[in-house]
Symmetry: C2
Subunit: 217 residues, 2 copies
Amino acid sequence: MIYKQPEKNQRKPNAQRAQLEARIIAAAEHAFARTGFNGTPMEAIAEAVGISKQNLIYYYPNKENLYRRVLQKTLDMWLEKMAFSDDEDASATDIIRHYIRGKLELSYENPDGSKVFAHEIMNGAPILKDYLLSHLQPQFRKDVALMKKWAKAGEIKAIEPEHFFFTIWAATQTYADFASQISLMLGKKKLTRKDFDKAADFLTDMVSHGIVANPEK
Amino acid sequence: MIYKQPEKNQRKPNAQRAQLEARIIAAAEHAFARTGFNGTPMEAIAEAVGISKQNLIYYYPNKENLYRRVLQKTLDMWLEKMAFSDDEDASATDIIRHYIRGKLELSYENPDGSKVFAHEIMNGAPILKDYLLSHLQPQFRKDVALMKKWAKAGEIKAIEPEHFFFTIWAATQTYADFASQISLMLGKKKLTRKDFDKAADFLTDMVSHGIVANPEK
DNA sequence: AGTTTCTTTTACCATTTGGTAAAACTACAA
DNA sequence: TTGTAGTTTTACCAAATGGTAAAAGAAACT
């Protein structure tokens, strides 16, 4: 063998390093989730990890890069759940229900990611704009088209699918983004999986048949 | 008359001052809406108004006070729209529809207020917590109770009213908070009143009868 | 014109913040 | 035991940030 193995001289470091980097990303995500990019000092992240600011900078020499990493980490996972699963056999209702549960599951599993995303959007999506246009919009348009097909086929009513998505996105992400308000209203310290299950039940029910008992039309 | 009139010596100042203060509050609201309390420097607000930072500090000597003013300004108006109107004659459906339109109207008229509110909640509502408990929660509980009465009376289905409110709050506020994402998805520069009207139509329809054409149950 | 009140500018200042540079330390392989 | 790569600490720094103090300007009433 002519080429030396690059892994040879860095066994232990790599493993520990990966772990620490993961802790940093998690702490950064949590911090950015609360106060956004501008409102979060590097110091705060370092403190949460339990290392010095300079040490943090050794691992992530640039705040914006760290922020982009945090965004990226969630984004791919995120994007997947933002689109309908393309199960050919499933009915419209099934796909929609599965969609709602998947999005709520994500809000439960990764509330910080949801909040970082929310901060970014509220700030005008300066960094995400291109990504949203190139990755999310195509998905969105495909799913909107699919819903229009469903409407034509008589599977669902003739609604505006765009607003359906905005509503579902909002209603599912709110259990992450607005968790503090929701738990305050419910009078509990924090939301449990049960709360998310109930949210899913409510949402799927409402989407299916509405909440009015005997609508005249 | 023994007592001097306190208004006497400050006619013109008061009028102009009130105007400038209003401009400052509006600029502050806009800035806090984008980057939240921690992420917004006083300098940025001053610049938006077109005055120096020191001059801004002359009017609002303390950043947190300015922020509280901004919050307070929106809050009362806000709270009113967070509760059902208590029209004795109106049907459940009417009240709910009126509610949805009112909240969307507010999102359209005051998107910045909505965003400031969102930042505050995402940061754990450090300042609003007490206010929400003392002012919003009672309203919320009253309205939840009312919906349970409606359910018992057979006017609406047996859903969990709590989640109904979380959904409506989220779905209406998203047109303010996530406007940049929504307009990006729709391929338009900004949202118009027409978009909000369509959102209201969609939401009221879905809440009334759902979107599935012939639900089996 | 002079005085008073309100407003704006000028001059600072301590702390915070993102980031550099290099020294000191640690673990481990040769 | 010594060299080396990886890591942490120490020592700084310039710019940004929230805020103070006081001088200078404007307006308006006497």
